[in-house]
Amino acid sequence: MAKVTFKTDICKGCGLCIEACPKKLLVIAKDKINKKGHSPAEMTDQSKCIGCAFCATMCPDCVITVEK
């Protein structure tokens, strides 16, 4: 099963990963704020992730690690 982990503290909440996800599984966690003062991206349903790494490919800050 694919697993996506976010280095939440360096996420800037730009949302490029959200646009890239073919399954539309990612959202900005509006109720959270990280050390940088941004609301970070997070996974909504890990079980539906296909591990394509499109999110990580578009992430400018290397926030995302994808495992399969």
Binding site: C14, G15, L16, A53, T57, P60, T65, K68
Partner: protein, 249 residues
């Protein structure tokens, strides 16, 4: 099994770039190319003046900071003094296409064996969004509030088209980072530019059409859409010069 992780050629320093700035993607592509070619220990980068001025904090290889626009001249010196090392420059459009135009053209025509990564976001990012040589006709910037008027300030410079007219350079290619497909193509091009240098083929320049959400006044995803609709038609993607490909034919 890890499918995707941060490349080793990038340090752990968090990038200072604005949210959604594609500099981060391009940094990663360069670092992935360095990792995959196994040249981290012998690579020396030359940082520009511009938003990427602090690239020396982010790349895990040795870095030199050049005066504004002079990165190809500094890289020329490094490469000639240390021909066994891999030398790349990382420059923006305000650096390479404006004050550094002479150094760029002459390094290209001498076919210096260096790799140039040229990030074109059609604006001066670091200084606050002034009109750049690559700003599009009609584009609103801090110094062209009514849009770029080509009658008074001229037309944007298409660097790839211009350099491909020279006999010198080995590889001149334009790529973009607006979607996953283009990012993957950009990675392939950047890797090829490094491979060319290792093979001693000569000057390879990869122009990366990128975005500047902050100074364009857009959200990161809208900036990528604007890039696709406005910049790519003016700056068509593709290989403008590849001498090795010609020899194969």
């Amino acid at each position: 099994m890890v499918v995707f992780d941060k490349p080793k050629a990038l340090t752990d320093a968090p990038l200072h770039y604005c949210p959604g700035c594609t500099h981060g993607i391009i940094h990663r592509l360069v670092a992935e190319a360095i990792d995959e070619l196994g040249i981290l220990g012998k690579t020396v980068g030359v940082a520009p003046v511009g938003c990427a001025v602090m690239a020396y904090d982010y790349f895990a290889c040795d870095m030199v900071e050049a005066a504004h626009g002079r990165a190809p001249a500094v890289a020329t010196g490094l490469k000639r003094a240390m021909p066994e090392n891999v030398i790349f420059t990382y420059q923006g459009d305000g650096d390479l296409a404006s004050i550094g135009m002479a150094e760029t053209v002459h390094a290209a025509t001498r076919n210096e064996n260096i790799t140039v990564i040229f990030v074109n976001n059609a604006i001066y990012g670091m200084t606050g969004g002034q009109m750049a040589p690559t700003s599009l006709p009609g584009q609103v910037t801090q110094t062209s509030p009514y849009g770029r008027d080509v009658k008074t300030v001229g037309y944007p410079i298409r660097v790839c088209e211009m350099l491909s007219a020279l006999d010198g350079p080995e590889l001149i290619q334009r790529v973009a980072v607006n979607n996953v497909k283009n990012v993957m193509a950009a990675k392939k091009a950047i890797k090829k530019a490094f491979q060319n240098q290792i093979d001693g083929k000569g000057f390879s320049l990869i122009e990366v059409v990128s975005s500047c959400p902050t100074n364009w006044g857009m959200t990161p995803s809208n900036a990528l859409k604007w890039l696709e609709e406005n910049m790519i038609p003016y700056y068509p993607l593709g290989v403008y010069k590849d001498r090795s490909a010609k020899e194969v034919k």
